[in-house]
């Protein structure tokens, strides 16, 4: 069975105080409906990716909530896996089409974060961590700072190399009309920005963002379209301290190896990738876990612009990544797939990677307790 993507769209990402979750979802669903030419009556099921509707928005039962908004009575369910919620929703939607039971499935990713105080949001996000992490007063920047410090110690990774990840992703976002931050920044801007959790500074961190994104997955055979050639998930310990190695995410290594096997490709075949750069160190580690560079060599490669648009392969985070396109946690995983879909159908505009044929997405939950990998191919 071939599972293809009929359409994909996102809202503008940012501080969307005037937009409600209902309106944001309505906007992206209208876009994918128009793009695919498919009537909503043909949708067999809805998978909603979201993390914080319960802890921040006081709204559970999100499947029915959005089915009501769309005037549908089909099965609808919220999928939660922290920041990998909607990557997991895409995985389950993929399996539902693969099973033959559903023909056309709608995946929605949505998060509303900027309505609340940052301390409140930080607290809610730590729902993705472990009890001892919360008791220690750790935040997600703190957990990734612990990873960064260990990586610096083991491989000599420098703060300037981490900063370069932000500089690149802001450059890519400057070409993306839907990104939260479209201004260019310099290494010095990053290095001089205030500390959040040492050694990570505010410009090493992805922002709080409102945003929604949607995809339609289908068993319809579209000869000119884009198909999934892999969908793989792995999990690891919830808490960071339980892991033997702080400098790599085991879930990402396991899921990507599985995905390469499913797709019968190697890391060298990937033209374009959207990876989970919630913090700059996370993109460096992702490059190593995904097999694009050897352990300890990714930071220097990124610094030498080997993953920048127009100067290397694979081109990484053409959307601007989580850092600059924004990180509405429950929408990020589907935004990544939308970006790869646009790249493979040559609709990525100014950020188009020439002749992109195979693309990969890497969506991470928590400090690496869940990792979802998708590989897409132009038919």
């Amino acid at each position: 069975m071939n599972v293809s993507i009929l359409a994909g769209a996102t809202t503008k990402f940012g501080e969307l105080w005037s937009a409600s979750p209902r309106r944001m979802v309505r906007e992206v669903v209208d876009l994918v409906r128009a793009q695919s030419g498919l009537s909503l009556a043909k949708i067999d099921g809805i998978f909603v990716g979201n993390m914080l509707s319960s802890s921040l928005g006081n709204q559970d039962h999100l499947g029915a909530f959005f089915a009501e908004e769309l005037g549908l009575n089909v099965p609808a369910v919220k999928v939660e896996a922290a920041c990998a919620s909607v990557g997991m929703a895409v995985h389950l939607a993929f399996l539902s089409v693969l099973s033959g039971r559903y023909k056309n499935v709608l995946v929605i990713g949505i998060e509303k974060m900027t309505d609340f105080k940052p301390e409140t949001v930080n607290n809610a996000l730590m729902g993705a961590g472990s009890d001892p992490e919360r008791e220690a007063g750790a935040t997600f920047p703190a957990l990734y700072a612990l990873i960064a410090r260990a990586h610096m110690e083991k491989y000599g990774t420098r703060e300037m190399e981490m900063a370069q990840v932000s500089v690149k992703n802001h450059y890519h976002a400057s070409l993306n009309s839907h990104a939260q931050f479209t201004r260019l920044i310099t290494l010095e801007d990053v290095l001089k920005s205030p500390l959040v959790a040492s050694p990570l500074k505010i410009l090493d961190c992805s922002p709080l963002t409102d945003g929604a994104a949607a995809l339609i997955l289908s068993s319809a055979n579209d000869k000119k379209g884009v198909s999934f050639v892999a969908s793989a998930v792995a999990t690891d310990t919830l808490g960071l301290s339980q892991r033997q190695d702080l400098t790599s995410l085991k879930a990402a290594r396991l899921a990507s190896r599985q995905a390469y096997t499913q797709a019968k490709v190697t890391p060298n075949d990937i033209d374009v990738a959207e990876v989970h750069d919630c913090f700059t160190i996370a993109e460096i580690i992702a490059m190593e876990d995904l097999g694009f560079f050897k352990k300890g060599e990714a930071a220097a490669a990124i610094f030498a612009k080997k993953t920048w648009l127009g100067s290397g392969r694979p081109v990484v985070n053409t959307s601007g990544g989580l850092k600059a396109a924004g990180h509405p946690v429950g929408a990020t995983g589907v935004k990544q797939v939308v970006e790869i879909f646009n790249q493979l159908t040559a609709k990525a505009g100014k950020k188009q990677v020439k002749n992109a044929r195979i693309g990969l997405t890497h969506n991470v939950g928590g400090s690496g307790a869940t990792c979802v990998i998708h590989i897409l191919k132009r038919n």
Binding site: N123, S130, P132, A136, G137, T139, R149, A197, L200, L246
Partner: protein, 100 residues
Amino acid sequence: MLSPVKIWRNQKKIRSLLNKNGEILSFTKVYVPPAGFEAQAPYVVAVAKLDDKTRIIAQLVEWEDQDLKIGKKVHTILRRTKDPGIEGIIPYGIKLKPLD
């Protein structure tokens, strides 16, 4: 949310981690805290490996600048962890103290 029952249940685990030696595997100084930790910031959070191979995450207390390094020997102690909140129960937990 801090439930008194959950605090009571978790406190049974504390004893097994108390009065142990270990070393720092990584650390960070947190400048932007979550709710309930505002009064303590900035504070240091560390991952440590205890001599019995248990790995824990906890705050480091009574540190000086020269203690902030990977490999620093530490000792586990009992300390208040965060604000009591509306329940009024003072939560205790494990923290790390540098060894000379």
